[in-house]
Symmetry: C2
Subunit: 254 residues, 2 copies
């Protein structure tokens, strides 16, 4: 096994399963710490701040610094900051994205924004969607934190951010730049923060279509773990395979 200088790691299905712990995940993280290998969690969730995710991980016995949590919101803010340091943004989204943008000095505005940023917003309204459509038709740049169309809940599937971003795309004819998985943007930004080249790092996750795809697109090696969405059988159907696929994270550091 190659020595990787950094690990990027998915959360749900990899570190825990909904509200259930995955015991091998804690052992894996403890081993990374013991070997002092840098790592960062990468999540498409745009509504939670890193601090809230940090608290969630502690419930599963996994301790991480808040700087070790890269969210699609933080990555979106970094991306905009890089493109246009004094940018303004009209935002559909919750605390996670609004705080991330403001922390980077991006002004959240209602009028004449440079960007329209969409993240999941459980207070979304017809009026907000109209405004997003109008701003885009007036020339704003369209960014979506993540493309998830539907999110599983105990009541069934409910709309994810991708469902609303697609609605706005259908009305305006404009495709959003997607920051979260399965694109490589968020992973590149995480690696930049760690100062590690993609070729020296590995992306760990359970979901081929998001985690492994993102790793592949970010030119990283990939480690698929069979504790979540994509089974070993399903994995075989894909023409581009992950670098490794293991049953649980206990099989990694032997």
């Amino acid at each position: 096994m190659k020595h990787y200088k950094a690990y990027l790691i998915d959360l749900d299905g990899t570190m825990y399963r909904g509200k259930q712990p995955i015991p091998e995940a804690k052992v894996f993280i403890d081993e990374l710490k013991f070997r002092q290998i840098p790592f960062m969690f990468v999540t498409n969730n745009s509504s939670r701040t890193p601090e809230l995710t940090q608290e969630k991980l502690i419930n599963f016995g996994i301790e991480a610094e808040s700087v070790q949590i890269m969210t699609a919101s933080l990555a979106t803010a970094s991306l905009i900051k890089e493109e246009k340091p004094d940018a303004t943004a009209f935002v559909i989204g919750e605390d996670g994205i609004i705080k991330a943008l403001e922390d980077k000095g991006i002004k959240v505005v209602d009028k004449d924004p440079d960007y329209v940023v969409m993240g999941i917003d459980r207070d979304n309204t017809y009026k907000k969607l109209v405004e997003a459509c109008v701003h885009l038709q007036n020339g704003a740049t369209f960014i979506a934190t993540n493309p998830d169309i539907k999110v599983p809940t105990e009541k069934g599937f409910v709309p994810g951010n991708g469902a609303f971003a697609t609605l706005v795309e259908n009305v305006t004819g404009m495709k959003p730049e997607i920051v979260g998985k399965p694109t490589g943007h968020m992973l590149y930004i995480a690696l930049e923060q760690l100062g590690v080249e993609p070729s020296d790092a590995i992306m760990v996750g359970d979901n081929y279509q998001t985690d492994i795809q993102a790793g592949i697109r970010a030119n990283m090696d990939t480690l698929h773990v069979q504790t979540g969405v994509t089974s070993q059988e399903e994995l075989r159907q894909y023409s581009v395979q992950p670098t490794y696929s293991i049953k649980t994270l206990a099989d990694w550091f032997d």
Copy 2:
């Protein structure tokens, strides 16, 4: 020219253009009245009641009884009434659809509906869309008043009912039954009310992809008028042509 026993007539682009009158339209309607030929307006608008549309027409000098206005909402209520007379419905929509359903004795409910009915709702929220998705996954039947993805306004395109219906379809995997144009449902229901067979009636409209398509699907003859969306040049590209195409409605009763 064949004698038609009834005329179904589109509104915007055919009777008026946005806020502008089309003088030939008034002459055409006056001629229908003079000849005592039954006619009915058919509109995909689901938010306005027939009475509000009646008022709008009077501004352009066109007088009609409210029973001569068939909306996608009235047609939706008739369709449900036919399928299940004691049905309940969860509704995303405005006054037009809610009143139409209640007038037909269909109970508008929040829990365990037989139908999820979607019409344009300018008070739409994330919560309403979640509820629609959940009801559908619990077995409700999905009906959309009309499929319009985008609606032109002076500020640009804004989302139409079809944009939200598509969002719910993307999340649930369930396709709605569409009542308005370009399907034939609304036209069949209008003709049923007039007691005229489709083969004895004609559909009049400016938009090939909605009005003329709906007429074709309802097995009616069709009259395309070049005062709105579809130009004579554009019309040529379609393999199935309308029965007639004329420059203005003044060219019809010569």
